[in-house]
């Protein structure tokens, strides 16, 4: 049976080299890095080495990396930690409308606790305007959080332009780079960011591995308090296998990024071409070229995303959608709303993310199935019937 994963954004398999590196730390080297005896030695060194590797991916210093259990934890730690440490400086925070929920929801909680939140709009491609950012800044602004890339529509923010504005005013800048890490270069000096979130499971590392880069000198109070792991910035026994895996994934990402990204982009472009040729009334979402190399996001007019997704699944093709029905919160994607996509188009959205097993041969089959299924669902769509009669 055909099985074509086009939903690597939801999960990636762990690279065999990564898993191999992790393996000894479950059993042979199971010690606690904080133990003073020999059993702590190898785990301690492994964690230190992984820290160097993640730092190298970002062009950062090892001591600027805090290991976390996921990107959500890193985002919560960054945002709540900055807010708690900066109360005396002010209470104003700036973000943008298409951030991940793990950025927006902590900020909404801070808002309820008395912070002032400015949520910048984005244009129809999902871009934040540096000029609007500049105007939003007040004397009270304590930090800015704007993502590196959007996980749905794939749009890459012009971070250097945005961080330049923040730097002028001396305001710490956090970026959620979860969907960008491993696919586009993220040197913190070039980006000009002070904090950066990433997660290993987005780029062939293990689930349960995340990291927060915090520029030396940035004040942050810890979210997980307890032991003095991560120099007191994140309590909890180090998940050594996951940390080792993240380090290994960072090495692979650094070595292979250019090749990986250009081959993914080529496959993606071929897929795009094929499905646009096969399916009428298809719309591309996100920026035409400022986008993640492995991301393709479209709206299929007149039909609903979950129905498409389930039918594609029956054909062995795995995708996701930002439609109301596919979100457990039963709201259509806030990202699609923010770029001003018409509700009907948001409902018919399909997200393709390519990954390690994507092949050129897949595109024709996917296009053919998408065309067949779209036709079938349009036949039972009242919107399509209305359109057909009207047109």
């Amino acid at each position: 049976m055909v099985k074509i994963n086009l939903d690597y954004g939801a999960a990636t398999p762990v690279d065999p080299a990564v898993l191999q590196a992790m393996y000894p730390y479950f059993t042979e080297h199971y010690g606690n890095p904080h133990s003073l005896h020999d059993l702590g030695e190898q785990p301690r060194q492994a964690v230190a080495a992984a820290r160097e590797k993640v730092a190298a991916l970002l062009g950062a210093k090892a001591e600027e990396i805090i290991f976390t259990s996921c990107a959500s934890e890193a985002n919560n730690t960054a945002l709540k930690g900055l807010a708690a440490a900066s109360k005396s400086k002010g209470k104003h925070i700036i973000t943008c409308a298409i951030e991940h929920h793990s950025v927006l929801n902590p900020l909404r909680t801070l808002e309820k606790a008395g912070f002032k939140l400015t949520i910048l709009p984005v244009d129809r491609y999902g871009l934040v305007d540096p000029e609007q950012l500049r105007q939003a800044i007040t004397g009270e602004t304590i930090f800015i959080s704007i993502q590196a890339a959007n996980p749905e529509i794939g749009t890459l923010q012009p971070l250097p332009l945005l961080t330049a504005v923040a730097q002028e005013k001396g305001i710490p800048f956090h970026t959620d780079a979860t969907s960008a890490a491993g696919f586009i270069p993220l040197k913190v000096e070039e980006l000009g960011v002070d904090l950066l979130t990433l997660a290993g499971d987005q780029f062939y590392g293990p689930k349960g591995s995340g990291a927060l880069y915090v520029r030396r000198g940035t004040r942050l109070l810890p979210l997980l308090e307890g032991g003095i792991q991560e120099k007191g910035r994140r309590a909890g026994t180090e998940n050594v296998p996951a940390i080792v895996g993240l380090g290994e994934a960072a090495v692979l990402a650094r070595e292979k990024m250019a090749a990986r990204s250009s081959s993914l982009a080529a496959l993606r472009d071929a897929l795009k071409e094929k499905i646009f040729a096969a399916v009428p009334h298809l719309h591309l979402n996100g920026h035409p070229h400022l986008r993640l190399p492995h991301n393709l996001h479209v709206s299929v007019e007149f039909v609903e995303g979950e129905a498409l997704l389930l039918r594609l699944n029956m054909a062995g093709i795995y995708v996701s959608s930002g439609s109301t029905c596919t979100s457990q919160a039963l709201k259509s994607s806030h990202v699609l709303q923010a770029i001003g996509l018409a509700p009907e188009l948001a409902q018919g959205s399909l997200l393709f993310t390519l990954g390690p097993e994507s092949k050129a041969e897949d595109a024709p089959y996917v296009a053919e199935q998408l065309s067949r299924i779209t036709a079938l669902l349009r036949q039972m769509s009242p919107l399509y019937h209305k359109y057909s009669k009207g047109g």
Binding site: N105, T109, K112, E304, C325, A329, K331, P343, S381, P382
Partner: protein
Amino acid sequence: MPYNEIIMDHFSNPRNVGEIPDADGVGEVGNPVCGDMMKFTIKVKDDRLEDVKFLTFGCGAAIAVSSMVSELAKGKTLDEAMQITNKDVAAALGGLPGNKMHCSNLGADALHKAIEDYRKRQAVPVAKTEESGGGCCCSFCDDDFDCPVSSASPGPTCEAKVQEK
């Protein structure tokens, strides 16, 4: 797969898809903003539903619900058909996932609207059936755990319910 076999069967092979060209009654519910929209057309003969057809824009559940409603209704008297509830439809489908109970389960409403439309055309006055509300709804409603307002982004219709708890 989020759905059981009966639902997947009705989703994969929906019965009675289409639009009756010279329908005796038409009922529409929902709108694409919330993700589900259904249009039922009926043909009535001797106070019975001789034919029922539907068009649905919506998720797997919405399509299966429409299909099931059309099957349940076909051949029934209008009064019998008016007794079909959204709950009956869900039960006939072997149960819907909690978060789809409200949102996609509008099939009976659409059918009732079509029957009302027919009756209106026949000038038989009826009390307007109340819609079940439907629309967008938080997946936590059916849950016994407090809805974590700050993180779950509940839908508009549930916000009240959530606050109450």
